[in-house]
């Protein structure tokens, strides 16, 4: 084997073929402590029962796996003083944000999560540009992997792209939104927020209100909440809430006022005007009249109802300012919890192994 770059001893050069999952030659934790001068830190125990290398969707996870993610997020949130401090848990690792769709919130949240754990981040935006150059998203991702990254965080307008990448890449793949399919970390952060306020998810009634048809947030919430025992209502105009959801075991509603007295949590989804080929309801005016959460509707709700929104919010369309900024709103806590669940996902995935039984990874 030839000498590595800068005359490093061959033993210290990481061969290209090595899976990035294998532990670093030096313990990354100790290295970071020495170099960053942070106080003594004892890393948390890796939870038993986690083996996945990719976080692609919540539909495919078990209740136990989702609970591990939420518990770990809670632990890391506390260890980082509410997601504000840095801990040297993942020093020497690198996260690549590979976004084929515009995003600031989710991308920054992933970056901050990585940085809070001592990892480096690198950004690739490719809203259409690589496609116009004739490169497929798979080639783009392989190029980035070849730069030696441990996680690829991807957002793409087509459903299933993270699943396709997971088949092609050696590194960990995190889905940050694939079309209308799933947005698993958003689902997790919503669940974590509810759990922090209610102590549990089991037995709660959660309504997802708005454009269910085009919402990846809705799908991730639906699967995740149901696996942990919540009753899920999907509510919105009939053109955006398919009756087929009932075949899959969810309650379908079109009248928000009717369901309000039964709900413990309302998650108000944004109307994604940019995704419509033709408008699925007559006017924004009519939509707001039927589905906007406002002061009048708040009075129909239970005492301790939680008002959530994945954002960005359209004030006056799905939510009025008095509700968004009111005492029941936990919208900003959701944002903080986003960093917590992303820290948990990053940490768990790099410890992922092949499946203990099947011998295959999760793809």
């Amino acid at each position: 084997m030839p000498d590595g770059p800068l005359g490093m001893a061959p033993g210290r050069v990481k061969p290209l073929s090595t899976k990035p999952l294998t532990p670093m030659t030096t313990s990354p934790g100790e290295l970071s402590i020495a170099s960053s001068g942070l106080p003594e830190f004892s890393p948390p125990q890796r939870p038993a029962g986690w083996w996945r290398r990719h976080l692609l969707d919540l539909e495919g996870l078990t209740a136990e796996e989702i609970t591990i993610l939420l518990d770990t997020a809670q632990t890391l949130k506390e260890l980082t003083g509410g997601c504000r401090h840095k801990i040297p848990l993942l020093g020497g690792r690198t996260l690549a944000n590979l976004f084929f769709e515009n995003s600031t919130r989710t991308r920054n949240s992933f970056s901050l999560a990585a940085k809070r754990l001592g990892a480096d981040t690198v950004e690739f935006s490719s809203s259409g540009s690589s496609v116009s150059k004739g490169e497929t998203f798979i080639d783009t991702a392989k190029t980035i992997q070849a730069m030696g990254v441990d996680w690829v965080v991807t957002r793409h307008p087509a459903p299933g792209t993270p699943h396709q990448l997971a088949r092609e890449l050696e590194c960990c793949v995190l889905n940050a939104g694939d079309g209308a399919h799933e947005h698993p970390t958003q689902g997790l952060l919503d669940m974590l927020t509810v759990r922090q306020h209610r102590g549990r998810l089991d037995g709660l009634t959660v309504a997802l209100v708005g454009d269910i048809a085009h919402s990846r947030t809705a799908r991730s919430n639906m699967w995740g909440l149901r696996k942990l025992g919540a009753h899920v209502i999907v509510c919105g105009p009939a053109t955006l809430v398919s009756p087929r959801w009932e075949e899959l075991g969810f309650e379908v509603a079109h009248d928000l006022d009717e369901i309000l007295p039964r709900c413990d949590v309302l998650n108000l989804l944004r109307i994604q005007f940019e995704r419509f080929a033709s408008r699925p309801f007559p006017s924004v005016h009519e939509y707001a009249n039927r589905y906007a959460m406002n002061g009048r509707r708040m009075r129909r709700c239970r005492e301790g109802i939680l008002i959530m929104a994945p954002g960005p919010i359209n004030r006056g369309v799905e939510i009025t300012p008095e509700v968004a900024d009111g005492p029941h709103s936990v919208i900003l806590e959701q944002v903080t919890n986003g960093i917590a669940v992303r820290m948990a996902a990053l940490w768990l995935l790099v410890g992922g192994r092949e499946h203990p039984e099947g011998g295959a990874s999760d793809e």
Partner: protein, 441 residues
């Protein structure tokens, strides 16, 4: 053709639905034609190839009602030579190739070019389905009369549907002069905007945009009414929905002459396959829900659906290697059509081998108005020899087609083509050459 050595196929089971043939026998091919069935040894020519068809079926070569060969213009997907080789390996002796090339085959010169390339390729007989409309734009009729003179055997803008009802009606009416069928891939374009897969419970879960069944049902309803109104010859296909089947039953009970076809992939696989997010399952027509699959199989078995067409829509690897929105519809199908249908329909007991030959050879030939699909004495010697028991696994990387994307990759199937004979000439065999040495009689 007279310089060809005669071929004696012996030891096999002869099947030809319209000739009442389904029994052991031997078949002599001479001067490019079916010379005789069960010839006496004394009547054999002085020299002939003897083909040992022991344990095999000897059938008319398959006739495909619509494959894409992509040449000229899209040779990265397929050429007439590679597509022809795939057809032979799949037992097809005649292929109707679609005119969705670049430029579209909407002129006599386009038809002649394909015919000329095919003639020098030693592949199957290639007949052209010319474009119905100028530039496949769905506005004005192409020069249909001149295209017929140049050799076109059918007209279609497929896989693009004819969205313009006035155009379809006019063309059906006009084509009565030539007794040439119009093939429509029935889809209402307004209802399939950006759809990727069957619109149903699975697409809902996966967040993929749907191709609703009513888009096909509406188009079939329109098509058959226009066929009735004009008396023109219409073939709808490939179809994929229960609604289409209901309409066809209604139409046939009224004595309206309309034919229909289905693709093998719609007889076996369902939309659940898309949960893998693998673009090889993005095919045309889309994989439907299990209920549709079951009804399509029934309709093939009971004859409501006349024919099975390969649905060969080759697309280059670099195009299929993409996300599900970007990747084009399509897959290589010529080499898997027969075994997939045999496995799904014959092995399951839903129909006989004779029925399969009827649906994949005899009826397609009748629909296209070709002298094929039969072992009648004097007919062109287009013959397939099929081993019905050979079990094998579909490995697209070994396809003759340039396209190696298949929804059937990795599937275990039964039935394999051993010889394909076109015009009395062995153009494909899986056996070593020694097996059919010329010997004296």
């Amino acid at each position: 053709m007279s310089e060809l050595t005669p071929i004696l196929i012996e030891g096999g089971r002869l099947i030809s639905p319209t000739d009442g043939l389904d029994r052991p026998g031997r078949l002599l091919l001479h001067r490019g034609r079916i010379e005789s069935i069960d010839p006496a040894d004394d009547d054999l020519p002085e020299y002939c190839h003897r083909v040992d068809a022991g344990g095999c079926l000897v059938t008319p070569g398959l006739v495909d009602l619509g494959a894409e060969f992509r040449e000229p213009g899209h040779e990265e997907d397929e050429t007439i030579v590679t597509g022809g080789a795939a057809a032979l390996a799949g037992g097809f002796t005649t292929v109707l190739c679609l005119g969705n090339c670049d430029p579209p085959v909407d002129t006599p010169a386009g038809v002649e070019l394909i015919a000329r390339i095919a003639a020098s390729a030693a592949g199957p007989r290639v007949r052209v389905i010319a474009c119905l409309s100028q530039g496949r734009r769905g506005e004005q009729m192409a020069e249909l009369g001149l295209l017929v003179q140049a050799g076109a055997v059918a007209f279609s803008d497929s896989p693009r549907p004819v969205g313009n009802s006035a155009l379809l009606k006019r063309a059906l009416d006009y084509c009565r002069m030539f007794d040439i069928p119009i093939f429509d891939r029935p889809v209402d374009p307004d209802l399939v905007d950006r759809g990727v897969m069957h619109d149903g419970r699975v697409s809902l879960r996966l967040g993929l945009s749907g191709l609703p069944t009513e888009a096909e049902d509406l188009a079939v309803a329109r098509d058959v009414r226009l066929a009735e109104a004009t008396g023109g010859r219409l073939h709808v296909g490939p179809i994929s929905t229960m609604g289409s089947i209901d309409l066809l039953r209604w139409v046939k009970s009224r004595g309206i002459f309309v034919t229909a076809s289905v693709c093998p992939h719609n007889l076996g696989q369902s939309d659940e396959m898309l949960a893998s997010f693998d673009a090889r399952f993005k095919v045309h027509p889309p994989l439907r829900s299990p209920r549709h699959v079951e009804m399509l199989c029934q309709a093939v078995a009971d004859g409501t659906i006349d024919a099975i067409q390969s649905g060969h829509m080759p697309r280059a690897r670099e195009k299929k290697m993409n996300d599900l929105n970007q990747a084009p519809f399509g897959a290589a199908a010529l080499e898997t059509a027969l075994p997939v249908v045999a496995t799904r329909m014959v092995r399951s007991g839903a129909m006989s081998w004779s029925d399969l030959i009827l649906r994949m050879s005899t009826r397609p030939a009748q629909i296209a108005g070709l002298d094929a699909g039969t072992l009648r004495l004097g007919a062109p010697a287009d013959v397939a020899v099929i081993d019905p028991e050979e079990a094998w696994t579909v490995e697209p990387e070994r396809f003759f087609s340039s396209c190696q994307s298949s929804p059937h990759a990795g599937e275990k199937v039964w039935g394999r083509v051993v010889y394909t004979i076109v015009g009395g000439e062995i153009r494909f065999t899986r056996r070593p050459a020694l097996d059919h040495l010329a010997i004296g009689s």
